[in-house]
Symmetry: C2
Subunit: 509 residues, 2 copies
């Protein structure tokens, strides 16, 4: 390497880059033999150093100047017209590792750690991260690499130490409605275990667990609050986005999203790392399978289940995977307040539906896994904890500890506008389209409008007459309610036998 | 799709983005169900519309505001506080096509055209383009796709129409020194054909053809100048970067560079599209093969040669590929002025070395290809055009037409500092390391310092004594000359038999 040191004048660009990058004039870049996204080292006299990729411009940085975004300038502690020295730098080791994955070679623990560290610290550009994730999507991670990636995410993330306490956890791969978490967590805490659950908000569905729990109590908790509340009550239901257990993972998801990348192994590593970070030792995973969920068939589900189990072994988590039916709704509610109310009704003993059953199965599996009861007795014990009111009492404790107020399911807030929708034809319901229910609820304002959503009055297999009520749509914004009703014409919610799509009518005010 | 229209206030960010992107506050993004890099449509009352990916921020754009970079704002003709409407938009078709390539499916003409158009117009983000190129790197393009990509680059690029005239062209895949182009172009033009040659500048080597030609005449020509000069003199040697024949290709190279991606088919499409854009009908391609060039062995070279020929057939260019020896230097010069001087010496008839021979072979192949002479007679005819002084006369015409002045090789400018380097051991030269020669020349200041570089006094196979002069190093900056001399200790230029690396000494002033 020809190592020149160039003295340059800082020009601060009045914006946050959100990534490591500096900008040189095209003339300087040519002189230094640099192309866009080559690396340089920027050094200050006081010894502060930073490696960044460069971008190249013809216009807004003059020759002799180096353009720095505000966040990069802050890091270097420089102001406008500060003098820094610039040296061409080697590509980081992580770029070489990415090249290996592109060439379908296996990565080792050190290489994956370098990649995750450099994603975390923004030392890899989005282009490089995108190339990495595309290569993993195509060439895959084997079991070792999945374990290495899990370890790398654990090492670079935040951690909670509960000491000798036994930590249980639950995860759902998602794609259905129904907040089983809000029933499982109080059951497990009522059984005397700790379950520090972090959940996500909805992105494209009607409601995430964090959205529904937020109807009852604050969910944007700190790492310390997560720990304190769990130690106090046994359980907590927090929004994972605020806690940042695996910060590199958030950046990875941002890159995966625009291309709907879902690289094999990466999702498993992401889940397992977050569980390991809170010290979980026993984990039940709910894999709903169905055409509208993430996992389309049982063969795929079994492959994923196997990997979860194997990675669990390597990182010290005992895993049980429960493959559940994702072809029908999990409870009749879609929308934050409606799903929170249904969970509370189940905890209050007012209802025992599919969602309640599924929750007892998941909680029961956890109780068996931790050795609390014998195989086959978990469900009964979970159901007892639910029916005895112990789970409800625990949920009240959790709500209070998170800073909420106890309200009975009846008192959960209602929206301004409601509209019942009726069937125009008679028949037997062959299928309820969960995806379309979510889309209609979203159009009505869910999840931003907490009270918006829909409640089904029917189940799969029900015989309905003409003019039977099918569901109620709810919203605080009349225009959105109307848009949702309008959308219904194109997105059927029920399918009757013989492939007749249900037709609806509603009184138009 | 739930299609809401949101009214938002423009906040202009005082910087050029150089890409299509707009910025929303996290709160709005959640409300609209958008994640970073999802698409939105921005519309103005006057009907101007723009589809962009969004970025999401917590800080510098408030809820209700949409952040637009200066270039995006200019396109939309908005100022600070202008009101625009924002609607969630579908992913473009090109993103779906990229997904197909990731899934190892074949792309059709329409899909590749959409991808290239959207790269060209910045409607694909760098993340999406990086994913596409990584997928092509791993899954490859077949012959059809290479042809489709070539057509897409032609369709989206600039074109020159020379009417009925026969256009010839020459391309080298690169990796060696020596400016064969500066000898081939005047020979072909002297034979009465048109050869509108565009060349690149050096990125990591000591000198590109555009750098060397610039010693004699301006090379930053417009498309119109390229056409006019070719029509006037038959030949031109211009810098391709200024002419922008395939603008999408420049963006593709920018993304490929940081990961050293070199996707199969893409390089072929890139070369063939640029040749087709200037109307070339006959093309000779020089493929230097050697451990330090782009193509490492003859099997790879033959595979690439086959593809060039096949793609040529489909886009109407008759191609001949000449596989040349890339293991030794092509002429004894490294550096812009030194390489320009050597080319002029050959044209002036003062020298007939390996570079001259290679140039006559390439020009001869072209003359045979176009049917100017019989198979086997091209070399003799090219050599005759060179030795008769006709090629020199043509080169003088070209230099004048490009706006340069005629100078004899003797008068080409010299640097301030020179240093001869001598051998410390005796032996037979087994190998001259071209890559290290380039690195030393670069460290001395090439190609930015036009006069910097090195001239070899020896050739492969020469027997040398102790104290034989090996080469002369030249530079205008004394410090850089010293750095280059210093670098020499680690980067040997000659290898003697029995694996003895040549040792050197020079008088240190």
């Amino acid at each position: 390497m020809h190592e020149f040191v160039h003295s340059m004048k800082v020009k601060i660009l009045d914006i946050e880059a959100g990534k490591m990058i500096s900008i040189l004039n095209q003339k300087n870049a040519n002189e230094f033999g640099l192309m866009a996204l080559d690396r340089i080292k920027i050094s200050k006299k006081n010894g502060i150093e930073l490696h960044t990729p460069v971008d190249v411009t013809d216009s807004f940085v003059k020759p002799g100047e180096i353009g720095l975004f505000e966040d990069v300038a802050r890091y270097l502690k420089v102001t406008n017209n500060s003098i820094v020295t610039v040296t061409p730098a080697e590509k980081p080791e992580s770029v070489k590792a990415i090249r290996k994955k592109i060439n379908n070679q296996k990565l080792n623990q050190q290489e994956l750690l370098e990649i995750v560290k450099d994603i975390n610290s923004n030392h890899l550009s989005e282009i490089e991260t995108a190339a990495f994730l595309t290569a993993v999507q195509i060439n895959g991670f084997d079991l070792d690499e999945t374990v290495f990636m899990t370890n790398a995410l654990i090492e670079t993330g935040n951690k909670i130490d509960f000491g000798q306490k036994i930590i249980l956890d639950k995860h759902s791969v998602g794609g259905t409605n129904g907040r089983a978490t809000m029933i499982v967590v109080p059951i497990i805490a009522a059984a005397g275990y700790m379950i520090p659950k972090t959940s996500s908000r909805s992105i494209t569905s009607a409601c995430g667990t964090a959205d529904a729990m937020e109807v009852l109590a604050p969910v944007s908790l700190s790492l310390k609050q997560l720990k304190d509340i769990t130690q106090k009550t046994g359980g907590v239901i927090a929004w994972g986005g605020a806690i940042n257990l695996a910060p590199a993972d958030d950046k990875i998801i941002k890159i995966e999203h625009p291309l709907s990348l879902d690289p094999k192994g990466q999702v498993i590593a992401s889940v397992m790392a977050k569980k390991a970070s809170v010290g979980s030792k026993f984990l039940v995973i709910d894999l709903p399978v169905g055409p509208d969920t993430k996992i389309k068939n049982k063969i795929d589900a079994e492959e994923i289940a196997f990997k979860f189990l194997e990675v669990g072994k390597k990182v010290g988590i005992k895993v049980e995977v429960v493959i559940t039916d994702g072809t029908k709704p999990s409870g009749n509610a879609f929308g934050a307040a409606l799903e929170a109310r249904l969970a509370m009704e189940i905890l209050e003993g007012k209802k025992f539906d599919d969602l309640a059953k599924k929750s007892c199965e998941l909680a029961g599996a956890l109780l068996e896994l931790v050795g609390d009861c014998k195989q086959g007795q978990g469900y009964t014990k979970a159901k007892h904890l639910l029916e005895s009111g112990k789970a409800l009492k625990k949920m009240h404790e959790i709500i209070i500890a998170q800073g909420g107020k106890i309200v009975s399911s009846k008192k959960i807030s209602e929206p301004k506008f409601k509209q019942i929708v009726y069937s125009q034809s008679a028949g037997t319901i062959k299928k309820i389209n969960v995806k379309n229910c979510m889309e209609i609820a979203r159009t009505a304002g869910a999840p931003t409008d907490k009270e918006a959503g829909l409640v089904l009055f029917v189940e799969q297999g029900n015989k309905i007459k003409k003019k039977s009520p099918i569901f109620e749509l709810q919203a605080n914004n009349k225009r959105k309610l109307e848009l949702a009703l309008n959308l219904l014409k194109g997105l059927p919610i029920i399918e009757l036998e013989k492939n007749v799509i249900g037709k609806y009518y509603f009184k138009n005010n």
